[in-house]
């Protein structure tokens, strides 16, 4: 049982011993080739009702091609962590994939706000720090972690965060429950066929999410030799045994930016931000998702080589991203 109720608040929680057993029995440590299509990865690893997290945001290094595939496969009743996210919440809600959102930061454009007001999705406000800490607890195998924020705010009342007394000082401390998502999406710069993965630049909680989740799908701009990782272990963000599927997805973060690879497509982002109503939403989803078979066709027919060349050309800050 992974969903708990605390009054009228529902929260995702798994007893650490249950997650540990899953890790022992279901997460292979064997180096097996995991390269597959987004279609196969999502159909095999994402089910209706799943709890989904991703890193980073729809503007920067977000797993946008995987999100679009989830929409294409019309998953239902998903629960997502809208952590530092932007448009994903709106798109997944507009597509009818999502019914619950842990917030985070609820993105922008008025569509998602309206959806909340109309009761289309149920939100629980944990704050960005609260969600990041829940992920860390999930990764560290402890049922909770303490923090000195959330206290005194209404986020305490609309989430399952609690106040405990610190045994050393008597201080009131906020505690948040561990989060062990069903699936984590991570879009990375480089991966090998086994799942070793590298992110260049900052991340929200890439390693935490990979360790804390039941299943992990990595989409990568570039597939490199496994040898590369062992030659530079400080650069490894995620080791292969935390990963279930590897999808080769050039421009996988489009319309967002991939640091040092391609820039954000601002005109496209403006279209997203402009979505106000159901009609505009469905039109956008039709054009960018339903009417194309996969990410490759999307890039081909909806983005185009010229645009991709342009965005690659704009990515002129590469310092540090290696």
């Amino acid at each position: 049982m992974k969903i708990r109720k605390d009054g009228e608040i529902e929260y995702r929680f798994e007893h650490p011993d249950d997650f540990r057993k899953f890790v022992r029995d279901k997460r292979s440590r064997k180096p097996e080739p995991k390269l597959c299509s987004a279609k196969d990865a999502v159909s095999a690893l994402v089910s209706d009702g799943d709890y989904l997290v991703y890193d980073f945001s729809s503007l920067t290094r977000g797993p946008q091609s995987l999100i679009r595939e989830v929409i294409r496969q019309r998953r239902k009743d998903l629960w997502i962590a809208a952590e530092f996210t932007l448009h994903e919440s709106a798109l997944l809600t507009g597509a009818g994939c999502v019914t619950r959102i842990d917030v985070g930061f609820l993105g922008y454009g008025s569509y998602i706000g309206q959806a909340v007001c109309e009761g289309k999705v149920r939100v629980y406000d944990w704050t960005n720090g609260g969600l990041a800490l829940r992920m860390l607890a999930g990764a560290r195998g402890v049922p909770f972690l303490p923090t000195r924020d959330l206290l005194g705010s209404d986020n305490m009342a609309v989430s399952a965060a609690k106040v405990i007394e610190d045994p050393y000082t008597g201080l009131p401390l906020a505690v948040v429950p561990a989060l062990n998502p069903d699936v984590a999406f991570l879009h990375v710069h480089q991966a090998d066929i086994y799942g070793d993965a590298r992110i260049f630049g900052t991340n929200l909680f890439a390693l935490e999410a990979a360790m804390a989740s039941h299943r992990v799908i990595v989409s990568a701009e570039e597939i490199v030799e496994p040898e590369e990782f062992r030659k530079d272990p400080m650069r490894t963000t995620i080791p292969y045994f935390l990963v279930d599927a590897v999808v080769h997805a050039p421009f996988g973060a489009y319309p967002g930016a991939m640091p040092a690879r391609y820039e954000i497509d601002l005109p496209h982002i403006d279209i997203l931000n402009g979505i106000q109503n159901e009609e505009q939403m469905q039109k956008y989803l039709h054009e960018t998702v339903y009417s194309v078979a996969d990410h490759e066709e999307f890039l081909d027919r909806r983005v185009g080589a010229a645009k991709m060349r342009e965005l690659r050309g704009k990515a002129n800050i590469i310092e540090g991203y290696r």
């Binding site: 980073f56 209404d154 009131p172 929200l204 954000i264």
Partner: protein
């Protein structure tokens, strides 16, 4: 009479914010306007300010022009001292390393409590729903001095916020400490499009400190839905300087994405 300067309310708030920063201190930068405040401040007044972003950029030196929608991208993580992640970013603030934080707000109450979650109705059935805390709750909880930036519209200054997203002084003196928040922290200034507020040491209530040159303090507080304290001597805030406006308009935000707003003018 002296020459009038033309500017937007946003430009004025950004200029005010930039003037409040302290050199050689750390500054936890929130989404949007605070990003531009940090850039303007670092260029003009506080070259050694250390910016920190919740997504793990420690001490970046943003590239100009400011490109909208690049939170976390190469432009605003450029030349950082260190790239980490969110749990480390909030560790820096939780351990006391962040001197200033800056946040926007939908509503603010007399104690500087911030609402950025919803307006009207109830949490479950709000009239209007917004982004929520993001990392704002952590910034307002951890940073030593939090600066709130809010457009000066009376309805935004309410006796009680619809939702307490990020903590100010809660219910008054001692309430933060009683709640378990780090001692000695709290809202420091409220930058509006008409003036500048602080917080009274004794009551922890918002107090008007200064108004834009040419404005009448009475009018400034007149349309506020709560009555703030008013300092004995109200300082005068000069409008954005030519240099501030030039940087904002020509170098930082030439696309006018962030600095646009309501037109204002004041004597230079």
């Amino acid at each position: 009479m002296s020459r009038m300067v033309e500017f937007t309310d946003t430009e004025f708030m950004i200029a005010q914010g930039a003037r409040l920063l302290e050199d050689g201190k750390t500054f936890f930068v929130g989404w949007g306007i605070p990003q531009v405040v940090a850039i303007l401040g670092q260029k003009l007044y506080v070259p050694n300010v250390i910016q920190l972003f919740e997504f793990g950029a420690i001490g970046p030196q943003s590239v100009l022009p400011f490109v909208r929608g690049t939170m976390g991208g190469p432009q605003n993580t450029y030349r950082s001292l260190q790239w980490l992640n969110m749990n480390w970013a909030f560790a820096y603030s939780a351990a006391g390393y962040m001197d200033y934080g800056m946040l926007g707000a939908l509503q603010v109450d007399p104690y500087g409590n911030i609402n950025s979650t919803f307006l009207g109705g109830t949490y479950r059935m709000p009239k209007r729903r917004f982004a929520g805390s993001g990392g704002g709750n952590q910034v307002a909880s951890h940073c030593w001095k939090t600066i709130i930036v809010i457009r000066h519209e009376g309805r935004r200054f309410v006796p009680k916020v619809d939702f307490l997203t990020s903590p100010g002084y809660l219910t008054g003196p001692g309430a933060r400490e009683k709640a378990g928040l780090p001692a000695g922290t709290g809202p420091y200034r409220v930058v509006t499009s008409k003036g500048l507020f602080g917080f009274d040491d004794e009551t922890k209530r918002m107090i008007l400190l200064a108004v834009l040159r040419g404005l009448d303090p009475g009018e400034v507080v007149g349309d506020m839905a709560f009555r703030p304290l008013i300092s004995k001597e109200i300082r005068e805030i000069s409008p954005p300087t030519e240099e501030e406006l030039r940087l904002l308009r020509e170098e930082i935000d030439p696309s006018r994405f962030l600095i646009r707003g309501e037109r204002m003018s004041a004597p230079a």
